[in-house]
């Protein structure tokens, strides 16, 4: 049941990334592992970084949409982060709009969307007023 993809846990957030050549079996194992952990560990948010993917085909797109749907049923927000411009263009041309999937520019912004803030940032805001 191990997909071979790293899944990191940061508080109540799971952070993972997809590598290229994602096949059927890996995708299923990954979905399985992720959902189990969401349910077991009371996860509130999931971030999947796809900045290493140079090609997202309809299969990967469907996997992502299904993951988002499953996550929503379990009360989790799922965010897909780091899509490359070329990938976004191709997906739009194919008419795959990843309905129901929240996107973020990179993993950092995805963390912010889930309510995380860098300590430095809070300090940085105050001097800006001067």
């Amino acid at each position: 049941m191990n997909a071979g993809l790293p899944i990191l846990r940061l508080g109540d957030i799971l952070l993972s990334g997809l590598m290229s050549d994602l096949d059927d079996k890996t995708a299923l194992a990954f979905t399985d592992e992720l959902t189990t952990r969401i349910a077991d560990e009371g996860i509130r948010g999931v971030i999947i970084d796809i900045s290493r993917l140079e090609i997202v085909d309809s299969f990967v797109a469907r996997v992502l949409m299904q993951l988002a749907g499953t996550g929503r049923l379990l009360g989790t927000r799922m965010i897909v982060a780091g899509m490359r411009p070329a990938v976004a263009l191709t997906l739009t041309e194919l008419g795959l709009q990843l309905t129901g999937v929240r996107t973020a520019l990179n993993a950092e912004q995805a963390m912010e969307l889930l309510g995380w803030r860098r300590p430095a940032e809070a300090a940085e805001e105050a001097p800006h007023a001067s």
């Binding site: 897909v80 982060a81 780091g82 899509m83 490359r84 411009p85 990938v87 976004a88 263009l89 997906l91 739009t92 041309e93 709009q97 990843l98 996107t103 973020a104 520019l105 990179n106 912004q109 995805a110 912010e112 969307l113 309510g115 803030r117 940032e121 940085e124 805001e125 800006h128 007023a129």
Partner: protein, 285 residues
Amino acid sequence: MLGTDDSQVRTVLARVLEEDRTALAHDWAGPETGDGGSPQLRREAVELVEALRQALTGTLPVSRIVEQDPAVRDALTSLSERRARAGAQPSATAMAILALKRTMLGAIERHTEDSALRYRAALLVNELLDSAGVLTFEVYSTGRERIIREQHSQMLELSTPVVRLWRHVLAVPLIGTLDSARSQVVMNSLLESIQANEARVAIIDITGVPTVDTAVAHHLLQTVSAVRLMGAECVISGIRPSIAQTITQLGIDLSHIVTRGSLADALATAMQLLGDSGRPGAVSG
């Protein structure tokens, strides 16, 4: 028309060109081409006459000399290109090439008394120089088309700047008609800039777009969804009242897209969106 292609005529013609080469080039380059016979032009004329002579002594049939002989082709191409750059009309260039006929016929007359031979030589000259004239015209129009294509691609790059309005806010002021080639360029540069600037909001300003039809709207929708896939929000601004009416009349559904009347309103909206995304500090930055 194999009748014009016998070796006797070709030999005679080649001899005429050989012996009267300079005279021919001089006669022709002087008055006929109408630009005073510059040394440049005379050299080109000599080149062309020489290339024609060599082609005639070769084995290529007359009907294919202009098309396939590299030297003749080069001479004609450079002549046509130079005249085009000098601002000559393509018809004038073609006429100049055709004027070479008269010069050549005159030379043939001086060379032979045999009228049958003269007639066949005239036919051959005709065939040869007609296709040469056509080639100069073709070169001219290909050159023009290349210039048009280059300018078109330059225009594409010029007309789609992506500007940074605020921290994490980008804007694309679109000017002119939005066709699929342009929207592709816009999308590309916008998405690249979103990644480079870590933008959260992209504003597409269509104040300069004269009309919005279903095709343009389709391109806009595509851009918006690509921007969303990148994880940024997209606001469309600069929708004039007449365009808003057209969009409604065409029944185009833009309801899931944030639209604003002016760029200023769009910027205000962008600030709100930035505030919502959990970074109120960004607004003051």
